[in-house]
């Protein structure tokens, strides 16, 4: 038996080429569409590059990066993106947890109806999510018509027309789209907790809230971490929703780093600076999500 296993699992060290050969197409594609562009982009960020890169201009060293530190708008976009990320993830987690607990307690028949309906937002393009919410937030639109009945108008909640609340509006639109994802993952996580734990806690006289905080949450920690790595990262890349909902306005209050770099590259046609900005965006992404990722990775290897 031992010998047979060896025939099947020839290791890399013995000069076995088949695994490498099988991985070759993936590695090749990733080289072309990921590794090489990243290196090329890093290289370009040290140059003055006009539109389309047809004219790679002078080497200007780190000036594109220095410019970032004097560009207050660019710094603001980073802050906006981080705020968006925190708000979006916090809401996703909270609403997702409530939804998952609820779905778990539901009778099976009702759950079977709710679950497919719930996945619809997941399948809608983020661009269209932004568009739908733009219609909802319209000053003469449905939201203000509803709020009018309880006496809330544009003065109390200025929506997307004021820099104070516009980012919140984008965050709410993101909740609509992503909360179902959290519900699905967290429901599966809840199902993985053995029923005995709950029984034991119940016998010991713990109430439902106490059970949730003492048993459910600690056991779900890993699921939360994974969700954070798999879905939380996307919040830092936010582009589509904002593109349709506010186009970055008013007064750049919803401008995300991706959106700003896009505008620098394709509206103002300064691709060198846009590249420097997007490299900074990547560094921010690694700094923010590197820690949960490393934590997660270490856990699953050992």
């Amino acid at each position: 038996m031992k010998k047979k296993q060896k025939i099947f699992y020839l290791s890399l060290e013995k000069g076995d080429l088949l695994p490498m050969l099988l991985m070759a197409p993936t590695i090749l594609i990733m080289m072309v569409v990921m590794i090489f562009p990243l290196l090329y982009g890093l290289y370009l960020s040290f140059f003055k590059v006009g539109f389309g890169g047809a004219t790679v201009g002078d080497f200007i060293g780190v000036q594109n990066y220095i410019r970032f530190f004097s560009d207050t708008t660019a710094q603001k976009t980073i802050v906006n993106t981080l705020f968006f990320s925190v708000g979006a993830i916090a809401g996703d987690m909270l609403l997702g947890t409530i939804g998952a607990v609820l779905l778990n307690k539901m009778s099976r028949a009702l759950g079977n109806i709710c679950r497919p309906l719930m996945t619809i937002p997941l399948l809608v393009s983020p661009l269209i999510v932004g568009l739908i919410w733009r219609y909802i937030y319209d000053p003469s639109g449905i939201l203000y018509w509803l709020l009018g009945h309880v006496g809330i108008g544009m003065e109390q909640f200025p929506g997307t027309s004021s820099s104070a609340t516009a980012l919140l509006c984008c965050i709410i639109a993101q909740w609509w789209e992503v909360v179902p994802f959290y519900i699905i993952v967290l429901t599966a996580g809840l199902l993985a907790i053995p029923e005995d734990y709950y029984e034991a806690a119940y016998v010991d006289g713990a109430g439902p809230l106490r059970i949730f905080f003492r048993i459910t949450l600690p056991l779900m920690k890993n699921v939360y971490m994974t969700v954070l790595v798999v879905s939380g990262v996307d919040t830092l890349k936010i582009f589509d929703i904002i593109y349709a909902l506010t186009s970055g306005g008013p007064n750049n209050s919803t401008m995300s780093i991706s959106m700003y770099a896009y505008n620098q590259a394709f509206v103002i046609s300064d691709m060198g600076y846009a590249m420097a900005l997007s490299v900074i965006a990547m560094v921010v992404s690694f700094l923010v999500f590197g820690i949960p990722f490393l934590y997660n990775n270490r856990k699953s290897i050992t």
Binding site: P19, I29, V33, G53, C114
Partner: protein
């Protein structure tokens, strides 16, 4: 064992469920119903629940604005992306599986690092590269770009599903004289069918709905639906009638496919996350 619930707990649960369903479905209803309302009725508040539907927006969008072509572009681009990523990803995952397993495990976790790279960071250099290679405006550009979004994830997903295939089965195959290469189509792929279905629906929704790459790497001949919709979005005003019709054309097919592949969608989303 279930806790006994008081009537007010039940009532509260029912209320939250109702709110959640309204919250989820009303926005979708808004866009679909607006696509068949007359232009003037769209802005009317309160919205009429009963109205005479009109297909004029669809007519305009499909005939004047060429959405039929965008629709087929979207299908071509997302199908090619699906085939390419699943083919390459499954092969790579099998490669990881037959490596000494420790290395495979390590690599498959590192694969998730790719998700952390912002789309914009890859998009700008890719745009310049494809421009110099005269690939912008062909299907190759968006398909390859969409692969950069999905391939890492598909490989990781497949590697995760492949862990469930018992080693004994592969050993048995090898005892029967099945080479490792032959075992792939004969043993591994049949067992991976659900995983392939999951990857299909997940890649499809990411490619079908993708905007940033499509916006820059396509031209009028290869615009997918999302770009067509984006063209209607002005900074100041939006033509809601046409926009809703175009959005409906984009939403409805993917929601129908998603509905029928519900089971695989859910198992694909949870597979990686819960196993960690």
């Amino acid at each position: 064992m279930r806790f006994k619930r008081k009537w007010y707990t039940k009532l509260m649960m029912a209320a939250i469920t109702a709110i959640a369903l309204i919250w989820t479905l009303v926005p979708v209803y808004i866009v679909i119903s607006n696509s068949v309302r007359k232009t003037l009725e769209i802005k009317e508040m309160p919205p009429k629940l009963i109205f005479t539907p009109t297909l004029s927006h669809f007519e305009k969008v499909l005939t004047l604005d060429n959405f039929g072509k965008y629709f087929s572009n979207s299908i071509i681009i997302s199908l090619s992306t699906i085939v390419l990523t699943i083919l390459a990803g499954t092969l790579a995952a099998y490669g990881l599986k037959i490596c000494k397993s420790a290395i495979g495990q390590r690599i498959s976790n590192v694969l998730l690092l790719g998700k952390m790279v912002p789309t914009i960071t890859v998009m700008i250099p890719l745009f310049i590269m494809f421009n110099q290679m005269h690939l912008t405006g062909t299907y190759v550009a968006p398909v390859l770009a969409h692969c950069s979004l999905s391939l890492f994830f598909v490989t990781w997903l497949m590697a995760n599903f492949m862990q469930d295939i018992p080693n004994e089965l592969l050993e048995a195959a090898s005892v029967m004289g099945c080479s490792r290469l032959k075992a792939f189509p004969l043993v591994v792929v049949p067992l991976l069918k659900p995983a392939i279905a999951s990857a299909t629906i997940l890649v499809m929704q990411s490619s079908w709905n993708e905007l940033l790459f499509s916006l820059t790497l396509t031209n009028i001949k290869t615009y997918p639906l999302t770009v067509g919709v984006a063209k209607y979005v002005g900074a100041l005003s939006v033509d809601w009638g046409k926009c809703s019709a175009a959005a409906t054309l984009t939403i409805v097919p993917i929601v129908i496919v998603g509905f029928f592949m519900q089971k695989y969608l859910v198992s694909g989303i949870t597979a990686g996350a819960v196993k960690g």
